[in-house]
Symmetry: C2
Subunit: 329 residues, 2 copies
C-alpha cells in the first residue's frame, strides 16, 4: 500500500479492522472448536497457556485449510453447563496467575459462546477476546435536529474508573448483549442506566442495521457486531448518568462529532457506529469522501465467513497424515 | 448448508450474491489485467472467444494465487484512447457474430473501467458483465410518511421494451454511472428523466450509503455497487415517467413492499437497495429477521478484496516455472 493516497477516514477504518486486514492474513491464529464447530480464533500467546490444561483443551498441530492447526475444547464435556463450568475454572486460574491483561478486567458477567443458532457455553465477558469469540453489542445514536445548529449528536465520556477505554469519548449509549437479554431490551435497559432516557422516549428507538469489524489490541481479538439504533431526542432533553459508568455527555454538531473521531480521546471500537450514522444521515457522502465505498465495506466485514473452519475435513487429512494446503471452499 | 434453517430473506440475499457465494469459490474465472492492474474477472466461455484475438488479449495459463491464469489486455496499447478503441473494435465484431447474449443489449453508452483512482479505458455498458468489471450505479428510495398508511415506498415498473429485466418491479429511480457524470448529478438527472421529480424536491435527497453484491446471470458477472439516496416526498406527489423507460409507479406500504421482493416480478439486482432501506428505517430488524447479521453482510460484500490480483507475483512464479499455490496475502 506504499504511496497509496488514502483519506484519514479510511486510515481510521483500517485501524478498527487491524486484525481483519493485518492479523488474519498471517494465519498464525488457530480456530477454536467446540462440539465440532468453530466458535473462535486463538492467538499463539493464548495457545501457549492453554496447552497447560490438556484435560480441557486439545491443541491439534497439523496444517489444514491454511491454518496451523486448531484448538478443541475436550468433547468429553457433554453439555452447556459442564463446558461453562470447566472453562470458567481454567479462566479463574489464569486470572490468579495474571498471565493475561484481559483477565485483569474480570466482569462477573457472562457472554454466550454460540454458533448461528446454538449456545455452546458461557464465559466471563473479559475472556471472550482471548478466544476470539464473536461479540454482539447494542448502540444508540442519540441525535437532535437543532433549529439553529442543524443535526447534532449526543456523545458520552466514559468514566475514568472503567476497566476498558477509561475517560474516552463514546456513543451516547452502548452495551454488550449478555446472556438472557434481547437486543431491543438491552437497548432500552442501557438507555435507562447510562443516560436516564425514559421509556416514553425509548419508544421512538429505530432499528437501523448493524456494523461488523475485527479489531485487535494487547488484550486480544475483537470480532464485533454492533446492532445500531437511532433515537431522535427533543432539543430540551439532556441525558444524565445513573450507573456511574459515564462522567459527561456532550451535544455536538455533526461536523464536530466527525472531527472528534480522529482525536486520541475517542474509543476506537466505537467509531464504526458513529461513521455508519454519519453515512446514513448524509454527512459523509461519496462526494466528500474519496474512499467512500471502501469505508462502507470496512463497516461490514464478512465475519461469518471467518468462522467456518471445517473440522471434519481436517480430521480426514489428519488420518491420512498429509500436509495439504486445501484452498478455502 | 444441508438442513440449515434459513429465512426467505437470506435465500434472496444469497440469490443476488450467487457469484460471490457459489461462482467465485470454484476459481474458474480469470482476473482481467490492464496496465498491470486487475480490473475484472472473466468466465471460461468469454476466454474462449477472447483467445481468437491474440493481438489484443493475452491468455496466461499458469496457476497463480489460486487462479487458473489471467487475461491481459496487450500492454502495447499505451493510453486510455487506444485501449478503448481496440476493445471497442473486438466487441463490435463479437456482437456481429452474436456469440454473447449480453451484447444483444448494446447500449451505445460507455462505462469506465478503472482502478481505485485511474480510468484505464471505456467500453459499451452492455459488455462490462463479460469482463466482470465493477459497476457503479445510483438509486433513489422515494418514500412517504403517510398519515394513515404509515411508511410507504414508491416503486417503478420497468417498461416492457427495456433490454434488461423488462416489465419487472424496481426502485423508484435508478441508473448507472456513465462517463462524465457525478454521483449526485446522476441521481438528480435520473430523478427528472425517470420520475419527473422537480429540482425543488431533489434538493432534499439524502445520501444514505451504498450496497455491494456480486450477481451472475446468463449474461455475465455483476459486481455491483449502488450509491443509495433517500428522498422523502410529499403525500400528494405522484411520479410520472418522461423517457419511456417506466410503465407504472405504485406507492406501497413498507410491509407490502417487503412482500413484493419475493415475487418473481421483482428485478433481483434491485432487491439489495430496498432491503437496505427497510433495514435502515426499522422495518426489517434483528428481532423479526433471524438471519439479520448475515443479510447485512451480504448487502456489503468485500468487492474491493476480489480485485487485488497481484500480476507481479505471478510474473515471478511464471519465470521460475513453478506451479505453486500461494495463499492469498
Amino acid at each position: 500500500m506504499a504511496g497509496e493516497n488514502i483519506s484519514r477516514l479510511l486510515s481510521l477504518a483500517r485501524k478498527f479492522n487491524v486484525f481483519y486486514l493485518e492479523g488474519l492474513p498471517q494465519r498464525t491464529c488457530r480456530p477454536f472448536v467446540v462440539d465440532g464447530k468453530q466458535v473462535g480464533l486463538i492467538r499463539q500467546d493464548v495457545v501457549k497457556q492453554l496447552v497447560k490444561y490438556p484435560e480441557v483443551f486439545s491443541i491439534k498441530h497439523l496444517e489444514a485449510e491454511g491454518y496451523a492447526g486448531y484448538v478443541e475444547l475436550n468433547p468429553a464435556f457433554r453439555d452447556y453447563t459442564e463446558r461453562s463450568r470447566t472453562v470458567d475454572k481454567v479462566l479463574r486460574e489464569l486470572r490468579e496467575l495474571d498471565v493475561f491483561v484481559a483477565l485483569r478486567g474480570w466482569r462477573d458477567e457472562f457472554y454466550e459462546v454460540k454458533t448461528k443458532h446454538l449456545a455452546l457455553l458461557k464465559m466471563d465477558r473479559s475472556a471472550t477476546c482471548l478466544f476470539g469469540v464473536r461479540n454482539y453489542g447494542v448502540d444508540i445514536n442519540g441525535y437532535v435536529k437543532h433549529p439553529s445548529r442543524g443535526l447534532c449528536i449526543w456523545l458520552q465520556q466514559r468514566s475514568d474508573t472503567k476497566q476498558t477505554w477509561p475517560g474516552k469519548w463514546d456513543n451516547m449509549v452502548g452495551g454488550g448483549l449478555s446472556v438472557g437479554y434481547g437486543i431491543k431490551e438491552t437497548a432500552v435497559k442501557e438507555a435507562a442506566e447510562e443516560a436516564s432516557i425514559p421509556e416514553q422516549l425509548t419508544r421512538n428507538l429505530v432499528s437501523a442495521g448493524c456494523v461488523s469489524f475485527f479489531f485487535e489490541s494487547e488484550r486480544g481479538l475483537f470480532p464485533n457486531t454492533e446492532f445500531v439504533f437511532d433515537l431522535e431526542l427533543p432539543t430540551d432533553f439532556v441525558p444524565s448518568n445513573s450507573d456511574g459508568e459515564v462522567q459527561a455527555f456532550e451535544l455536538l454538531p455533526a461536523k464536530e462529532c466527525y472531527e472528534r473521531l480522529f482525536s486520541t480521546d475517542f474509543k476506537t471500537t466505537s467509531c464504526p457506529v458513529v461513521i455508519d450514522f454519519l453515512i446514513r444521515h448524509g454527512v459523509i457522502t461519496p462526494e466528500n469522501e474519496p474512499n467512500f465505498t471502501q469505508i462502507v465495506e470496512l463497516l461490514h466485514v464478512p465475519l461469518q465467513t471467518l468462522y467456518e473452519f471445517d473440522v471434519t475435513r481436517f480430521a480426514e487429512n489428519h488420518e491420512n497424515g498429509q500436509r495439504n494446503n486445501i484452498p478455502p471452499a
